[in-house]
Amino acid sequence: MDTSSPSAFVNGALLRRYIGQKVRTVIQVIGSDTGSVVGKSTDDLQIVVRGSSPPNPLTTYLEVIGIAESDNSIRAETWTNFGNSFDPQNFNELCKLANGEFKHMFI
């Protein structure tokens, strides 16, 4: 397992803590344009993901790994369709735990 470039689990609110750093998150796709996808984070905030090759077609949920550019945008390096059934609440709780009391177990 390549652990050379770890990414932090974030939701909308946590993104601002990692500006300039590698993050990963799952968003619900709201809309897409050439070079960017607009989505809703698991804590109901808007996130814009810019990058060169989003999957086509997009499923309802999309995982993005990339660099946080601002508190609501990510420059994607890896995109992965996460399908149409996904539990955003579970992911949101994971983000909270991974950045909270269990932070020492993650990066």
Binding site: F86, D87, N90, L97
Partner: protein
């Protein structure tokens, strides 16, 4: 004009500040001050009021402007303050000023500003003089508590440590605790000799509990001194890690008191009794606690209350009262709680009277038995709270009022003993990890106990007898007939053919342990992924690739939700624990994640 210092009220400003605002109706000393630095601000005049020692800013009302212009009130003159308020200067909360509403001229301009020999400070507010003498702490103590009991004096001077701060490495501490449970004196006789021992459960104001044990001389010394419900100061005890086997309270440590320990009753002293700390188990999770040592707490809506019953106690033939309460909660399951002795006659009677209101009750320290699947019983230390003031109770009441009372609910016990168990329905109740089965070798001693669990198949032995020949009609084992075909004893007939039905042992693993499960046909089919007949065909096939082994390999390290029953079976005269698979379901990852999140938060709150 001669300077008449006496005309200015001595320490007038200090008096003004300490007395605050005054109006002419109050009987207060009327203070005379000198007007200094009189100047106009708009149509009003401000000045500094001088008493010879201190000055304070002051403001005169517009109504007195004419007096100033006419010369009645003069700069360096004296005025008597009749009506004024003392306010903070906005933005400078340290400084105050007087807003004068009524005053009268006393003297015209003096030669100069009155100054005492001491350096007058301007604009700085002095603290009002202390009306009382400061007393030293010991003076106060002696005056107030001179005749108090030693314990009271100890309380004033001795620092009380919270129970949660105690550890084996800190020697000198004093705790203030209530005896929430007092055990009986027991005598023992072991290799080291004879002795007696008793223990007490202590609770402090924060709700932390600890068990304290006394042996022999200490036991005799303190047995009569400790009374249940009373509060004591205790020091010079020792702490050690609690023996998990005998733990009855939530504390990593347990305390031992010896003859040198100090136990003083805190008589006449109020001690806040903390709210009982509950750790509720939802009714549908009670299965895992059946016949376990752990005492549990429940909260539920009272569906029904039975009359008092008299039960003969086995050990001494005495008749004791019992009352059964049926509780329901949001898991839509019901359970019967048996109240014994005083709880049956006292609070039990109260509950009978209010049964139609369907109150919410919370009960602490219940034993979980397996009568009718799951049964709860009170013990001497159990406590019952009717309609507790807590969010859980409020939630339960509103659930019951809105939907609960209409819903038909099943008793939690019914899920336990039925053999025709629908696998999917009970995959989330009585969830355990495999370590629970291994750590309790006597599980299912009287009756099989049912659980659900999530685990991986870790090993399927290829060279085991995986199936038996079964009658196509009744599935019972058939015997080979003399000529050809198979004879079914149950159906009393012969058939040319039979079917193969699984009976196999599989090893399973999860994050907490591993164990063996027995699986019969329907469940094994879900694990292997094909029927026994099909697997048999694969086994007898020849070829490059051993399809049989492949099939087993594919089934290995697959994860499932299992409904299992644990029972004791006799084998060669020995009792052995046997776990049988009753149902297999695929994993719903989102649901499992939610369970894990629940577990994580449960572990947090119980810390």
């Amino acid at each position: 004009m001669e300077m008449e210092n006496s005309a200015v009220t001595q320490d007038g400003i200090a008096t003004v500040l300490s007395n605050g605002s005054v109006d002419s109706s109050s009987v207060r000393p009327q203070i005379v001050v000198q007007v200094v630095d009189l100047k106009a601000v708009g149509n009003r005049y401000t000045f500094s009021a001088n008493d010879g020692k201190t000055k304070i800013k002051a403001m005169l009302p517009a109504s007195l402007t004419s007096d100033i212009i006419s010369g009645k009130i003069q700069s360096l003159g004296l005025i008597r303050l009749l009506d004024y308020t003392v306010n903070d200067i906005p933005g400078k909360s340290e400084e105050k000023y007087m807003l004068i509403t009524k005053c009268e001229a006393v003297a015209s301009a003096l030669d100069s500003e009155i100054k005492s020999d001491f350096k007058a400070s301007t604009g700085i507010v002095l603290k009002p003089k202390q009306e009382f003498l400061a007393k030293s702490a010991s003076q106060i103590i002696n005056e107030q508590r001179g005749n108090a009991a030693p314990a009271a004096r100890m309380a004033m001077t001795r620092r009380v440590h919270p129970l949660v701060s105690l550890n084996p490495y800190q020697g000198s501490w004093t705790i203030k605790v209530r005896v929430t449970n007092k055990g009986v004196m027991r005598t023992y006789n072991n290799a080291r000799g004879e002795g007696c021992v008793f223990n007490v459960e202590l609770t402090d104001e924060e709700g932390t509990q600890i068990q304290a044990t006394m042996f022999n001389a200490a036991a005799k010394k303190f047995y009569d001194r400790f009374e249940q419900g009373k509060v004591y100061y205790i020091s010079r005890g020792s702490l050690k890690l609690a023996n998990k086997q005998f733990k009855t309270v939530q504390n990593d440590y347990e305390m031992t008191l010896n003859e040198n320990s100090e136990v003083e009753e805190a008589s006449n002293e109020e001690m806040f009794t903390p709210e009982i700390k509950f750790n509720f188990v939802p009714i549908d999770e009670l299965g895992t606690y059946v016949n376990q040592k752990d005492l549990i707490d429940v909260i539920g809506v009272v569906q029904s209350v039975s009359p008092t019953m008299s039960i003969r106690r086995k050990n001494d033939n005495e008749m004791i009262p019992k009352r059964d309460i049926t509780l329901a909660d949001e898991t839509k399951k019901t359970v019967v709680v048996s109240l014994w002795n005083d709880l049956a006659t006292g609070i039990g009677q109260e509950l009978l009277d209010m049964a139609d209101n369907h109150p919410v009750i919370a009960i602490k320290s219940l034993k979980v038995g397996d009568f009718q699947g799951v049964s709860l019983s009170t013990i001497s230390r159990s406590s019952v709270v009717i309609n507790p003031d807590s969010p859980e109770a409020t939630k339960l009441k509103s659930w019951y009022d809105s939907e609960g009372k209409e819903t038909s609910m099943s008793t939690i016990g019914s899920g336990m003993s039925s053999s025709a168990n629908n696998g999917s329905r009970s995959m989330y109740s009585d969830r355990v990890s495999l370590s629970h089965i291994n750590s309790n070798p006597s599980l299912g001693e009287e009756k099989p106990v049912f659980f659900s669990t999530r685990a991986y198949i870790s090993f399927i032995k290829p060279d085991q007898t995986m199936w038996y020949r079964a009658c196509k009609t009744c599935n019972k084992k058939v015997t080979e007939a003399m000529d050809s075909g198979y004879w079914c004893e149950g159906c009393q007939k012969k058939d040319q053919e039979c079917s193969l039905r699984y009976i196999m042992a599989v090893k399973v693993s999860d994050s907490m342990g591993e164990t063996w499960f027995s699986a019969f046909n329907d469940e094994a089919e879900k694990i292997i992924g094909c029927t026994a007949d099909e697997l048999n065909i694969l086994k007898s096939e020849e070829g490059e690739v051993n399809e049989f082994q492949t099939k087993l390999k594919e089934a290995t390290w697959s994860s499932h939700l299992f409904r299992i029953s644990v029972s004791q079976q006799e084998y060669n005269g020995e009792k052995r624990q046997r776990t049988t698979v009753r149902g297999v379901s695929p994993i719903d990852f989102a649901a499992e994640t939610r369970l894990l999140l629940q577990d994580i938060s449960k572990n947090k709150t119980s810390q």
